[in-house]
């Protein structure tokens, strides 16, 4: 069983992660929301950007420079990726909570569902991508989906689907988790 090695690996793994993207994205979002609050402007779009950007940062953290060296260790790559994911997702959720706190009181979208849905979609996309491009593809998907959501009119065929990650995040997350589980042996 590899629980003990994974627990012991948590601290050094957290040190191997590049935290500057998360810190940078969080700082920019906090500033934007503070400005929106001062100017009494709606901030739901900013929170949508926050969900996609944070999800992208979380998925990008799965990039491990030492992958080749660590490839044949007994603690599998899937276990090591889950550990990295957990280590980054927790602070990302804390950032989300901080954003909700600093956002204007008129904010409606306070649930972290879109963030979790986009993260699950990104990880699932990475799992089903070629190994060498997995993290790049996975980190790109939340941003691309957000862009699609913002550009596709809702009255075209399947136009509503582009917004499901915001309007129905939990079913989207469930489908992505299913895809993730199905592709875990890849």
């Amino acid at each position: 069983m590899t629980i003990t090695p994974l627990a012991q690996a948590a601290r050094p793994t957290s040190r191997s992660i590049r935290w500057s993207p998360l810190v940078g994205v969080a700082a920019v979002l906090v500033i934007v929301l503070l400005v929106a609050r001062t100017a009494q402007r709606p901030s739901d779009v900013v929170m949508a950007i926050a969900a996609a950007a944070l999800a992208s940062v979380v998925v990008a953290s799965l990039h491990d420079p030492a992958t080749d060296l660590l490839a044949p260790v007994p603690v599998s790559v899937m276990q090591r990726r889950l550990l990295r994911l957990a280590l980054v997702l927790v602070p990302a959720l804390l950032v989300w909570v901080a954003l909700v706190v600093v956002a204007p009181p008129s904010l409606e979208a306070t649930s972290p569902g879109p963030l979790l849905a986009m993260t699950a979609v990104g990880v699932a996309a990475g799992v089903w991508s070629p190994a060498r491009r997995a993290v790049l593809v996975g980190a790109s998907v939340p941003v691309l989906w957000f862009a699609l959501d913002m550009t596709v009119p809702s009255d075209v065929l399947l136009g509503d689907a582009a917004g499901w990650w915001r309007t129905d995040p939990w079913p989207v997350a469930a489908v992505a988790l299913g895809a993730l589980v199905a592709g875990r042996r890849r």
Binding site: P5, P12, A66, D68, L69, P72, P74, R80
Partner: protein, 288 residues
Amino acid sequence: MTIVHDRAGTLVRTAGLRKSFRGVRAVRDVDLDLSGGVVGLLGPNGAGKTTLLRMLATVLAPDAGEVRLLGRDPRVPAERLEIRRRLGYLPQAPSLYGGFTVLEMVEYVAVLKEQTDAAARRRDAVRVLESVGLGDMQRRRIRTLSGGMRQRVALAAALLGRPELLVLDEPATGLDPEQRIELRSLLSETAQRGTVVLSTHNTSEVAALCQRVVVMRDGRIHFDGTPQGLRTTAEGRVWEAEERDPRAARSWMTAEGTYRHVGTPPAGATTVRPTLEDGYLFVTGGWR
């Protein structure tokens, strides 16, 4: 630790091994039986050495054929785990975490190799670092190390836990001559209790270190035997002359200013004793 041998003491066995990437066949029908010692894998770039080593390190699954490592089947997850517990692997040009110290990097790999006792893990990490000559660099950050030193850190990580099967992809890259000699000594010691499979472009490395040499070209094995056997494949096929001979398959100028030729010697040519490099060139040139 018990070494599990396959049939007839074989630690590594492959049969009909194949691997392709996007239609390009990297490894074709490779049959190998390795039972200990240091085995050198020689071949030109693109010969399939790295692909074969990655399959022997359980990193890459073959498209077809059979692999058995330490008597186990790496396709079976539980058996693959057992193999990985007894395996050391040095990839080609490994990347490390620049912000870690040398000791932290090696200890991190030790954790992932399931060394859960902190004191024993520290002892093993210090042991392998000393064995690669980095005992006094434990507190240095990886980002401050030269390429050769980083290579030795990765080699130290591969040596953790005294593996029975050590798979090394060009381990001497970036090492100076003194470090190469130390590496030879280290690998010879490791081979006393298991198998070391290494790839290299350096025939003198093979001559000094390997009991067995496998030459690959175009994904296939073209020679499998002793270094002496490889040398003798070019027996009667190497000659030297004052002028370049256009009929020779390979010619190059030596340090003495004469031309050394490999191929079918012309009538009257005086053949010379072939070196391992001559044998390698003869085999990879396809004249065999």
